[in-house]
C-alpha cells in the first residue's frame, strides 16, 4: 500500500466529487510525486496532498473549467446573519446524506479546507502547505466554510420543517 493513499484519495474525491475522476487525478498525482521525490522536504503527507491538489486543479481546468470558479478568491462575502440560532440542533438532526450534500455544494476552496481540517485532522500549518496559502488565509477560509455550511444547513432544515 502506498503511504497516505487514502488521504490523497479522500481529498481528490471531495474536490472532483466523483470516484472515477478521483482515481484519474490520484494516479497522475502519485506518479508525479514519485518523479519529484527528491523535492520532498519535511512531512510527506502535506507534501503529497499539495501535489494531489495541484493535479485536481489541472484536471478541472481541462475537464471541468466551470468548477474552478470555486477556487476564485473574489467570491463575495455575504453579510453574517444576525441570528445564528438553531443550526446546532439542525446539525444534530441532520442526516448523513444531507450533510454530505451540503459540503459537496460548498465552493471548492472552502470544501478543501474543511475536508483537510475535519476529516484529515491537519493543523493550520499543514493545510497552508497543501493549499499553498498563508496560515491566516486558512483560518479565514475555515471560518467562511463553517458559516456557509451553517447557513445551508439552516436553509435546508427550514425548508424541510425540521
Amino acid at each position: 500500500m502506498l503511504p497516505h493513499l487514502d488521504a490523497a484519495y479522500n481529498l481528490a474525491r471531495w474536490i472532483t466529487r466523483n470516484d472515477h475522476d478521483a482515481q484519474d487525478v490520484v494516479q497522475e498525482a502519485v506518479l508525479r510525486a514519485y518523479r519529484f521525490l527528491d523535492g520532498l522536504r519535511g512531512e510527506a503527507k502535506p507534501w503529497l496532498l499539495a501535489i494531489v491538489r495541484n493535479s485536481c486543479l489541472t484536471w478541472l481546468q481541462v475537464n471541468r473549467p466551470a468548477d474552478l470558479a470555486g477556487f476564485d478568491d473574489r467570491i463575495v462575502e455575504a453579510p453574517a446573519p444576525e441570528d445564528e440560532g438553531p443550526e446546532a440542533q439542525a446539525m444534530r438532526a441532520f442526516d448523513r446524506r444531507m450533510l454530505n450534500e451540503a459540503i459537496a455544494a460548498l465552493p471548492a476552496q472552502f470544501r478543501e479546507v474543511l475536508v483537510l481540517r475535519e476529516l484529515e485532522d491537519m493543523s493550520y500549518k499543514e493545510i497552508a502547505r497543501v493549499a499553498d496559502v498563508p496560515i491566516g488565509t486558512v483560518m479565514s477560509r475555515l471560518a467562511r466554510a463553517r458559516r456557509l455550511l451553517g447557513e445551508s444547513v439552516r436553509a435546508v432544515s427550514n425548508a424541510a420543517g425540521i
Binding site: L2, F94, R96, Y124
Partner: protein, 250 residues
C-alpha cells in the same frame, strides 16, 4: 478582549490552534459572554457532526493495488533514496542527539508529570495490545461504577455520554504512579479512549500532551485527577475531557 477579536479567534480556539496565552484570554471572554459561549458550542457541534457523519472516501482496494503495481518499487525506493541522502548528516545528528541525551539524563531527572504521562500511556498501550481493555464490560454506568468502587478505596465518577457520541464500554483496574487507579474505557468510532481516575491533590501543569501518535488530556476536579489517553484526534478527545469535567461536577 474585544468582541471582534474573540469572534476572529474562536475558530482557532475550537481547532486547538491558539497559543496558551491567547486561549486563556479567550476563555475569560467566553466565561463572561453567554452568546460567545453558545457560538463556541455551535462550532464544536458542527465539527463533531462533520467528523462523525461526513464520508471519508477510502481508496478502493482494486485501485490501490493497480496503482501500487504501476509505481515500480513503491515500497523500497523512498527508503533507499532517503538513506543514501541523509545517512551522513543523520549519523552525525544521531551522535549529537546521543550525547545530548546522556547529558540530559545525567543533569535533569524527568519530572513527576513526565513519568506519570509515560506510565499512563504505557498502561493504555499494554491494555490495547493485550486485547483486554476492560475487566468489566458494560455500557451501563450503574454496573461499572459499583464494580470499581468495590475494588478501590475511592469511587470514581462514571458518566453516560452515549448521547454525545462517546460510548462507555467498560472499566478496569490499573496501577499508575504507585497506586491503584480506576480506568474507564470509552469508544468513539473505532477509537478506544482510556480515562484514568485517581484521588489526588495535584494540579496538572500542561492540560494536553501528544506522545508517539497518542493524545493525552488531563484535568483535576474535586480532588480527583483525570487522564484521558487515546489515538483519537485532539479535538474530540478535548470534547470528552470537557464533558467529563462537566459531569463529574454534578
Amino acid at each position: 478582549m474585544t468582541r471582534d477579536e474573540a469572534q476572529r479567534l474562536l475558530h482557532a480556539y475550537v481547532d486547538g490552534e491558539l497559543d496558551p496565552a491567547k486561549a486563556l484570554e479567550l476563555e475569560a471572554h467566553l466565561a463572561e459572554n453567554p452568546a460567545a459561549r453558545a457560538a463556541c458550542e455551535r462550532l464544536r457541534g458542527m465539527s463533531a457532526a462533520i467528523r462523525t457523519k461526513v464520508d471519508y472516501h477510502v481508496a478502493p482496494a482494486a485501485f490501490a493495488e493497480r496503482l501500487s503495481a504501476s509505481v515500480p518499487g513503491a515500497q523500497e525506493r523512498p527508503r533507499r533514496l532517503m538513506l543514501a541522502r541523509w545517512l551522513v548528516p543523520a549519523a552525525a545528528l544521531a551522535g549529537v542527539a546521543l550525547l545530548a541525551w546522556i547529558a540530559a539524563a545525567l543533569l535533569v531527572r524527568p519530572g513527576a508529570d513526565d513519568r506519570l504521562a509515560a506510565e499512563v500511556l504505557d498502561a493504555h498501550v499494554r491494555a490495547t495490545l493485550a486485547g483486554r481493555p476492560f475487566d468489566v464490560a458494560s455500557a451501563d454506568q450503574h454496573t461499572v461504577k459499583p464494580w470499581l468502587s468495590a475494588r478501590l478505596p475511592f469511587s470514581p465518577p462514571v458518566a453516560d455520554l452515549s448521547a454525545q457520541g462517546f460510548e462507555l464500554s467498560g472499566g478496569r483496574l490499573d496501577y499508575v504512579g504507585g497506586q491503584r487507579v480506576a480506568v474507564l474505557a470509552y469508544k468513539r468510532r473505532q477509537h478506544l479512549i482510556d480515562v484514568f481516575v485517581w484521588p489526588s491533590a495535584a494540579r496538572p501543569a500542561e492540560p494536553r500532551l501528544a506522545r508517539d501518535g497518542f493524545n493525552i488530556e488531563r484535568f483535576a476536579r474535586d480532588g480527583m485527577e483525570f487522564w484521558l489517553v487515546s489515538d483519537l484526534n485532539r479535538n474530540e478527545l478535548g470534547d470528552l475531557a470537557r464533558l467529563l469535567e462537566e459531569h463529574s461536577a454534578l
